[in-house]
């Protein structure tokens, strides 16, 4: 069962319900499906967590996932991972789940929609100043836009916008193109080759989730780094 035909680029174009500007499209529906899977799966696994050394396989997988994300955050930011863990972790888990589920027939990844990737990029775009201001204060955060000179202000703002756009487009382009290539190849060569490309798409999807999460963390870390270095110097002096 396919909800999209080859001519439709984005799952946004598959609309189930519309009332004025309110639309219920395929992107939102599959997003809810992914959300439901993630939340229910998490709830099922975490409702009976063991605090003993012997743990279940699912708990072990989730702990490996959480520990891996935590280590990546710590490595990139050189800060404690606790503050950024829910945001970066949710980004990675959501994008990875969206991309990995493409192996399910009829499924269309929400990340193949520019609206989804743009929404995620906007979340990153908003979170960067929020974390920065929370960490450094408003004045200190805004001051970095006029560094090293005030003439750099438009370039810094443009840089912020362009990297947000790049985040959205990169993820959208990779996932959308991957799914389209598989769809085209299925029409041309219906055996074996599309399966290989589908597997490659899984890898690409996982890498894209990683890249998105890492870049988000890099942007946040760059917004909080100066204060952190100051703190480190203060700690060293004490």
């Amino acid at each position: 069962m396919n909800f999209m035909d080859i001519k439709q680029i984005s799952p946004d174009q598959v609309v189930f319900f519309q009332y004025h500007f309110i639309t219920l499209n395929l992107t939102i529906v599959f997003t809810w499906v992914v959300m439901a899977l993630l939340v229910i799966g998490s709830w099922l696994v975490t409702r009976r967590l063991s605090t003993e050394p012997k743990i279940s396989a699912w708990q072990n997988i989730l702990e490996i996932l959480v520990t891996g994300i935590q280590d990546q955050i710590s490595e990139i930011s050189r800060q404690k991972a606790k503050r950024y863990m829910p945001f970066i972790g949710t980004l990675f888990v959501f994008i990875a789940a969206c991309n990995l589920l493409t192996v399910v027939p009829g499924y269309e990844s929400p990340t193949a929609s520019l609206s989804t990737t743009a929404a995620l990029a906007i979340c990153v775009f908003i979170s960067v100043p929020l974390f920065g201001i929370a960490q450094k204060g408003l004045g200190s955060y805004l001051k970095q836009y006029i560094q090293p000179t005030v003439f750099m202000l438009p370039f810094n703002i443009m840089g912020e916008l362009s990297r947000t756009l790049a985040l959205a487009v990169r993820l959208f382009g990779n996932i959308m193109s991957g799914s389209k290539i598989v769809a085209i190849l299925l029409a041309i060569i219906p055996f074996v080759f599309p399966v290989i490309l589908q597997l490659l798409g899984l890898l690409t999807g996982l890498i894209q989730a990683y890249i998105f999460a890492v870049l988000a963390m890099v942007y946040i870390a760059s917004a909080t780094q100066v204060q952190d270095q100051t703190d480190t110097k203060k700690d060293d002096n004490q």
Partner: protein, 253 residues
């Protein structure tokens, strides 16, 4: 258009909801479980470390007590050995002293018995010799030993030099004999003494059995004795030597 702004907004909301839900149902719980497990393991390690430390303390305490007991045991053994040696030496000394005491006592008793024996021997021997001589002289020579003794005394007294005689004559002279003197013998003695010492008072005569047939003259602080003690003493000496040489001979099995 590729971007549907309602969808963008909806996805932002969806993402924020997912963020909250995953934070609640995934990250926080997993993190909490991991922290809890880490704490449990840490507590176990701490407990194990405490138990190890307690065991180590107990081991050291035990070793210390064992060492203390061994030291005490060694000290007591040493003290007991020392006490036993001292006790042994003390007992040996006591035994030796007792043996020496008994030996001395026995020797003293022996000496006393010996002295008593020889004293009795001397008296009896002298008496026996005197009786034998008396009988022999009486039967064979028709004379008495005591007469000969008085005679000999008188001749010896007469032969005394002036220096040997007593100079003081104020005190009463005394003649002691081991036998009874007859009146004639007393007179002859008185006469002979008076001739030698004219100023001397009358002589007092008495009998002392221990002299046997000896005669003793005492006057003016001087005492002259003629008796058979020397002979008896020589006999006693010979007998004594004979006994001692008999004692010193090795006993034959």
């Amino acid at each position: 258009m590729l971007i549907d702004w309602f969808t963008v907004g909806a996805q932002v909301v969806n993402f924020l909801i997912l963020l909250v839900l995953l934070k609640i149902f995934l990250f926080d719980r997993i993190k909490q479980a991991m922290d809890q497990r880490e704490n449990n393991i840490k507590e176990r390690f701490d407990k194990a470390a405490e138990q190890e430390a307690a065991a180590e303390d107990a081991r050291k305490n035990f070793e210390k007590k064992t060492q203390s007991l061994e030291d005490e045991w060694a000290a007591r053994l040493k003290q007991a050995d020392k006490d036993a040696k001292e006790r042994r030496e003390s007992l040996i000394k006591e035994a030796r002293d007792e043996v020496d005491g008994l030996k001395n006592k026995w020797q003293n008793a022996l000496e006393q018995e010996k002295a008593s024996f020889f004293d009795r021997f001397k008296k009896q021997a002298a008496r026996l010799i005197f009786d034998t001589v008396e009988k022999t002289l009486s039967h064979l020579a028709d004379t008495r030993a005591q007469d000969q003794a008085v005679k000999k005394f008188l001749s010896r007294f007469e032969a005394l030099d002036k220096e040997d005689l007593p100079r003081e004559v104020e005190t009463q002279p005394r003649v002691s004999t081991g036998f009874d003197l007859s009146e004639s013998q007393q007179k002859s003695i008185q006469k002979t003494v008076s001739q030698k010492l004219p100023d001397l008072q009358d002589i007092a005569f008495d009998v002392k059995p221990e002299l046997v047939f000896g005669i003793a003259f005492a006057a003016g602080g001087k005492k002259m004795t003629w008796h058979a003690h020397d002979y008896v003493s020589a006999l006693e000496k010979q007998i004594n030597q004979a006994i001692e040489s008999k004692d010193h001979e090795p006993q034959q099995q």
